[in-house]
């Protein structure tokens, strides 16, 4: 192995926070048109420089009068005034109201000279063919008149610096006639994903060459935008020093902050390490937090002027750019970003942390720790339904390399280094991955099944974890999910209390190449002939059904099930999802795969039926009244027939 930088002197998390806080990410303020100012933050106090309204203004439809002329008037003894003219909104009054006179006036119109009050139209009658008006009430000077400046007076403090501009502040600024407003700049954040194996989504992927799609660039960009920054993507840098230096330098020149996310290959991290040390300063190299140990914090110098002569939008006083290196695994990168980097971006943008960024939850199960470094524990959330805010947090531990953790966890719980365990039922604070994250309306676990996947489309915001029938039942017994789905015999006799919401049947068997060129006729061929088979994992209900069918075959033959299984090439080759074995067959890597008739039909493959098994949807008895569970029950009642009729080999029980 090449020499490797080791993260020996790990900083503690507070040192890393302090280091990031010491960096200057704040761009210069800028002026934006009012129409584009929503969500921005005022850089300066705004004082009114005009009166609102700018004139004495009628606040009712009616007649502008001299109040003195109405004194004593009432329903029985109206004051009759001569009509001097009319004033509409948006015009300069052409009339003056003299003693004994009135002018018809619309709401919002300028008070004509001479008048000091308005009588509502409802308290008047026209007289003499519109030549005069009878006023049936007395008014005081100022009645139904909004004086110039009564709403906002010139010179008044209208809005303070740091004000976030929502609809209402934009309304006040509109009233003041403001065309553009000085706002805090949004820090420009350059994002550099490193690793020779990365391919940008949408481009062609060469899996044989170990290429993978770049997850972090778009994920971190979205998280930067959520935090109030302006993300800028840079081309992937491989682990070549020259290339890395060029990309990082360009990003540093153009941005207030540069984020790299290390590829999973350690050599790229080593190269970054070297570039930062030579072209800037490394403040933190390694943090005592899991995940996130290889986090870097530093500064990139920008000594030379930019070669393209374009204007530098960043603060002129700052000759350098802040730098943070994020871990390569997506969940780790997002976790470290959320905890350490987002607060600094919000601070620079002047944006407060959203009220929805953290929630409280109770731990569904006990968790133990023993590593002596801070742990950022990914958790999923589910509502118990008893009380609206009674959230359960359950640990999602799929390994930090799994991108599915991104959507199966809702956020992380920060567990201090000296915490040995978190008890079941203990209240924890969950930092959501994004402020818009909301717990699912219903949480299901169990068998992977295409009919179920379609049924879920009818629900509002479901989460379903395809952990297999056995593991699903186990979790249902532990009380975390709202429902479990089992197939075949695997759902039986396990002593789990549950309410069956619905059930249906599905044909299973061997998925083979189109036209069944090998002429496979059943399970016996797998044991007797030289065929490559792909199985499902032992948690799958389908695998249990296969096992039962093989046991019957073994009985028939008078051999042990073990002998039979040993003769099947690939019996232990367990593929993850229900379509996976069929896709191996389609790809020519296998002759037969355990699967469903529906899958064979979908992928235009052949099918050798072996049996029919029942899929059951079982509700957690404590959650039957939860809205998401009721919604699922309704979908089973209303949508199931349509879903089943659309899938080959699916149907109601006879």
């Amino acid at each position: 192995m090449t020499d490797r930088k080791e993260f020996r002197d790990l900083s503690d998390p507070d040192e890393a926070r302090d280091a990031i806080a010491s960096l200057d990410l704040a761009p210069d303020p800028e002026e934006v048109p009012l129409a584009e100012a929503r969500g921005r933050v005022l850089a300066e106090r705004i004082d009114a420089d005009l009166d609102v309204p700018g004139f004495d203004r009628a606040s009712m439809d009616g007649y502008a009068v001299r109040a003195r002329d109405t004194f004593g008037a009432d329903e029985t003894d109206p004051a009759v005034l001569e009509l001097a003219g009319t004033v509409h909104a948006g015009e300069e009054p052409a009339v003056e109201v003299g003693e004994g006179q009135a002018a018809e006036i619309s709401t919002g119109a300028v008070m004509p000279a001479g008048a000091d009050s308005v009588v509502m139209v409802e308290r008047t009658d026209e007289r003499d063919d519109g030549e005069a008006v009878a006023v049936r009430t007395a008014v005081a000077p100022g009645d139904h008149v909004m004086l110039a400046g009564a709403d906002v007076a010139a010179g008044e403090r209208a809005l303070g610096p740091g004000t976030r501009l929502t609809a209402r502040e934009i309304g006040l600024l509109s009233a003041l006639g403001v065309e553009s407003v000085p706002v805090r700049g949004e820090p420009t954040v350059g994002i550099v994903s490193t690793g020779d194996e990365l391919v940008r989504p949408g481009d062609e992927l060469d899996s044989a060459a170990g290429q993978i799609y770049d997850v972090n660039s778009y994920t971190v960009a979205a998280a930067v935008a959520e935090a109030g920054g302006d993300p800028e993507l840079y081309p992937h840098a491989g682990d070549d020093y020259e290339e890395m230096e060029r990309v990082l330098r360009t990003a540093a020149e153009e941005c207030d902050l540069v984020l790299s996310s290390g590829s999973t290959s350690a050599s790229a991290v080593d190269v970054i390490y070297e570039v930062i040390e030579e072209r800037g300063e490394l403040l933190v190299h390694g943090v005592a937090v899991k995940p996130g140990k290889p986090m870097l914090v530093g500064r990139l110098d920008v000594s030379e002027p930019r070669s393209d002569g374009s204007e530098d939008e960043r603060s002129e006083s700052s000759g350098d750019s802040a730098y943070v290196g994020l871990p390569g695994y997506p969940v780790s990168a997002l976790t470290i970003f959320r905890t350490f980097v987002a607060p600094a971006i919000r601070q620079a943008a002047g944006v407060p942390e959203p009220a929805t960024a953290t929630v409280e939850a109770r731990m569904a199960t006990e968790e133990r720790y023993g590593e002596g470094r801070m742990r950022m524990m990914p958790v999923g959330l589910t509502e118990t339904g008893d009380e609206e805010d009674d959230l359960l947090a359950y640990v999602v531990d799929k390994g930090s390399g799994a991108t599915t953790s991104l959507v199966e966890a809702d956020g992380v719980v920060e567990v201090p280094a000296d915490t040995a365990y978190v008890a079941e039922g203990e209240t924890v604070e969950v930092q959501l991955f994004s402020p818009d994250v909301r717990p699912p309306t219903v949480l299901g676990v169990g068998e992977d099944d295409p009919a179920l996947a379609r049924l879920l489309d009818a629900l509002d915001r479901p989460r379903y974890l395809s952990v297999g029938s056995r593991e699903g039942l186990r979790r249902l017994r532990d009380g975390v999910p709202d429902f479990a789905v089992t197939s075949g015999e695997s759902g039986d006799d396990r002593g789990v209390e549950a309410t069956e919401l619905g059930s249906y049947e599905r044909d299973w068997g061997l998925v083979v190449s189109a036209g069944n060129p090998e002429g496979i006729s059943g399970l016996a061929d797998l044991a007797d002939r030289d065929l490559r088979f792909v199985n499902r994992g032992s948690d799958s209900g389908l695998r249990t059904s296969l096992g039962d069918a093989l046991a019957d075959l073994a009985d028939e033959r008078g051999v042990t099930r073990h002998d039979l299984v040993d003769a099947i090439d690939g019996f232990e080759l367990a593929a993850k999802a229900h379509e996976s074995p069929a896709r191996k067959v389609a790809g020519g890597q296998a002759d037969a795969g355990l699967g469903l008739r529906a899958t064979a039909e979908k992928l235009d493959l052949g099918f050798v039926p072996v049996g029919t098994e029942t899929v059951r949807v079982l509700a957690n008895p404590d959650r039957e009244s939860k809205p998401g569970v009721r919604e699922l029950a309704a979908a089973l009642d209303d949508e199931l027939d349509a879903v089943l009729s659309d899938l080959a080999g699916f149907g109601r029980e006879p």
Copy 2:
């Protein structure tokens, strides 16, 4: 008056909601690039169509081996394997691992043929100058290998329809290599402000002609964007039928929903009424809700194809556009939008109501009602500081014409028509004007003062209501605000319990034209000569100081204060804000105005000193520990001297 449409058959609020719900605002789904998909809502289920990872992948740096070759190896008896080559991430393996062999491998690299597991580099030593490796541990098949499809398997349900795309969903879609995603369309909402008197912010205003800035267009546009719609502003329509019809037709052709906001002039509303009835259908005309009675709900037909031949982005099945007429006053318009229209836009966009859209609060004072229609009561919010979530709601009632209500109220409380009163301390649900609205960190009331306005700039999110010294003290006694500011004697002897946080002095007197051309020398001139004076309101501390000075002068002369005041032309002319009288002088409408030396200097006017008065900042004794109050106290300690030295005639008490 011209004939007026009366809103006689008022619909009840639920009928109005149902009418809006019956309109179809939902545009067709669209395809957006992944990089622009943040915040959008998936229109369809997304299934994985590839395995992630796409190959069996090393999940550690180390050596790819055949597990069988390591069986029995330990620290004391390592297995020594021949080094067959190296595999880096992002390259196709050029080696095959045979019996007794190993290949160096990086995290993320493709497992070479023949190998079934990885030994961590930490459990190995190089041997024979890199020709061999000693493995000090046994591994099982699959150890430190992530199998193809183990993260996501092709065919698995990845995300359901209706999923809001945040950073993490974008991460999963990146992993699947998705270039663009089908999302729900954002309804296009046309906004038409009506009224001849409206001028768009930034344009020149002719106040003498009764022009005012258009507040609703940008306010409603911001609120539409907050609700997930795409706002489109149309030119103001006056109250001419032809023009109104043309603007509304154009908007209806281009948008899913058209919103008009009535000007304050009733005639424009009448014209709209007529256009909708002739060119569409009016479903609701008038709703029993205050404010918002003149709300309209209907449909605009779009029968002819568009003249410019451009593509219609709206749903092809819909030949018409939904229409809602909002009231003209900004607070009313925003309230009605928030309550009736925003839910329909969110529904069409597939966006849930933000979790922060409503908050619970306790009523600060009792409120009584007796109108028999639903009331949307604007309230301001303040935290008591006792508990984090203990919010007080106080009624903001400045008249619906006041745009300042937009920023002085935080939201509205819906009071049903049959509710006679809401008790003090009763819990109410406050619908915030925008989900980003947050209660101020500190609420102050009292005297209008330029030093205070600058001090507030140092605070995080303060709210200050310039209600004058007397009213400020009254409110402090009622316990709603956190602090009050008084000036002069007006703050004394009123029996209000308070803690003085700080005080300073300011010079007051008569602001006169630059160079004092009238040669005004003091208050006596106001009574003795023919001068036009402008005063402040009687709640102002400055006015109290003036009154006291005049009383002294009256004593000196042996006349009553009343006689003296009667002789001053304009004594009753009370201007709203502290700069207002000076601005009247600057505008030539007065010879002298009550004001501060600092104001005279700021506006380049002359100043005739009369006295010096003390400004006191008084804290609510129950709120001294509230963070916002502590922040204010700190600003008084740290920033006051700098602020005072910057303002003419301000200083510490001698």
